[in-house]
Symmetry: C2
């Protein structure tokens, strides 16, 4: 059983109220792979990088269980680069630079061994490319998770909806759910979006947690209140990586297990923000992760027996 | 065992994206009393109204278990009046009119029978008046809960801190917690505020739920995702009323029971917003409330057994 992850690998330069970085490793697929690697291996990566990419980072990912056969290296190109600055509230940020570079040439071709992956996570890229990945699968995956963003709703809505109709789980944030559905109420928004095809919808609310919708069921997972949020970059991807990693580890796509997967994803995201970039995600162990999950249990669990 | 509630009784005129009202009954003490009345009686009310106050409303409150001996009626005065308009997101509003009227003369004098109340909820009024109420108690209450707002932090911070030091539970919203502590992180803010004296801090986050802090423990209660929020006015007071009502009913001020009380308070608030003003709070029954609490259970409960 393997996990297929398609998404960006990149360099980021990040400024927060607590400090700033030069170019550090980033990209959705990178965060997803590090996060998922604590739960399940192998992780079949599909991405594109330039000749400037630090191959020690590629070795690190391989050491954590990533198969990088599907990562195209354009020796004469430059890796995707993003630079941004976070405001004091850490929920809003301004993008300073987006250099797509080799990402403009991204044409995901799945190595033969990837085509039977059981769990597929399509990171936030052009919906045409996401569709192309789905079309290359030779066996039906147990679960396909799609991440996207408002940008694709703005410029490629029909294509995006076509991909959404083919996946099991869609993950977007609250404002994207509102944009995609035209509904302000997230409950109404979820009903409309589930009618587009996916069986599950995860609405990410950053420091305000995440909602899982499935048929008429709703589950809410809080974010862990933290003393310090150092750098929120990649938290959503880390969440998704923990989510699919836990699902793959347990092999259980029931609603009850998705709740647990969301808690594990939230725990991973709470680590991610503690240091710049992927730094924290490289140094965890499973004990720490379990302890963090226990914090979610004590944070959100209560015992009510209704006496009528 | 009785509950003492001190706060405003008022008229509100409310406009939301879904409609608008003429003057309807409002005020923190009114919402608190209606909400608490589903759990425990009597509720000893202390407030002030003008000769224009609808005495049928006073009869309604009495019928629900409120003792109104402590409500001063200024026959030649007008009741406190507030008017506001909510924006589409329902989280922000503009105040159009604040006519304090008789509230300017509010000087809470406790009837003798109120002075031994076991549970005290000091609604959002001048901290001088809140202190005056505390000073009139002849026996130490089992629990004193204080609500306040940014306005008093702006103009009477020292007096407010003096009251905060004397209560068991402080309830404020997230931006007020940040203002009061000077800390952006709510975890850091809570530590500072608990050091001011209260044993418990509840940070209300509206549609993003509520946090309970006590020593090093944190509990998070989600708000119920709703198809429609019709009118958020009074939701915070309704939450507080359900909270203290449940605590009084159970007679248990432990952290575990406070969690349950917060869930009940959240359930009551979720009803409040379904109609204008106190309308929904007048027509509930305990079955409906228990059903709503069950929705919170399925919304937030999950079952994780950590296998190391």
């Amino acid at each position: 059983m393997s996990i297929l992850v398609v998404g960006t690998m990149a360099y980021d330069a990040i400024k927060t109220p607590f400090g700033q970085t030069d170019k550090i490793i980033g990209g959705a697929a990178t965060y997803i792979a590090y996060s998922a690697s604590y739960f399940h291996k192998p992780i079949n990566l599909v991405s594109i990088v330039g000749g400037d990419f630090d191959f020690q980072e590629m070795e690190n990912l391989k050491a954590r269980g990533a198969d990088v056969t599907g990562v195209e290296v354009k020796q004469d190109g430059k890796s995707f680069f993003w630079s941004g600055v976070y405001h004091m509230d850490m929920n809003t940020r301004d993008t300073l630079v987006t250099d797509l570079n080799v990402l403009l040439e991204f044409n995901p071709i799945l190595p033969e061994a990837y085509k039977t992956s059981d769990y597929v996570l399509l990171g936030n890229i052009d919906p045409d490319l996401q569709m192309k990945v789905i079309d290359q699968m030779s066996s039906k995956p147990k679960l396909v998770v799609l991440d996207t963003m408002n940008f694709w709703m703005d410029i490629a809505l029909d294509k995006l909806k076509a991909v959404i109709a083919k996946v099991d789980v869609l993950t977007i944030n609250d404002s994207e759910a509102r944009q995609l559905s035209g509904e302000y109420s997230l409950v109404k928004a979820a009903k409309k979006i589930l009618a587009f095809g996916p069986k599950y919808l995860i609405i990410k609310k950053g420091e305000n947690g995440a909602l899982l919708f499935h048929e008429n069921n709703i589950f809410f997972a809080p974010a862990l209140p933290l003393e310090e949020v150092f750098d929120p970059t990649g938290a959503g991807d880390t969440f998704a990586g923990g989510f699919i990693g836990y699902i793959a580890k347990t092999g259980d796509t029931s609603f009850d297990n998705m709740k647990r997967a969301i808690i594990y994803g939230s725990a991973m995201a709470s680590f991610c923000v503690e240091k710049f970039g992927t730094e924290r995600l490289k140094e965890l162990d499973i004990e720490e992760i379990h302890d963090r999950v226990e914090e979610f249990v004590s944070l959100s669990q209560f015992d009510i027996s209704i006496e009528e």
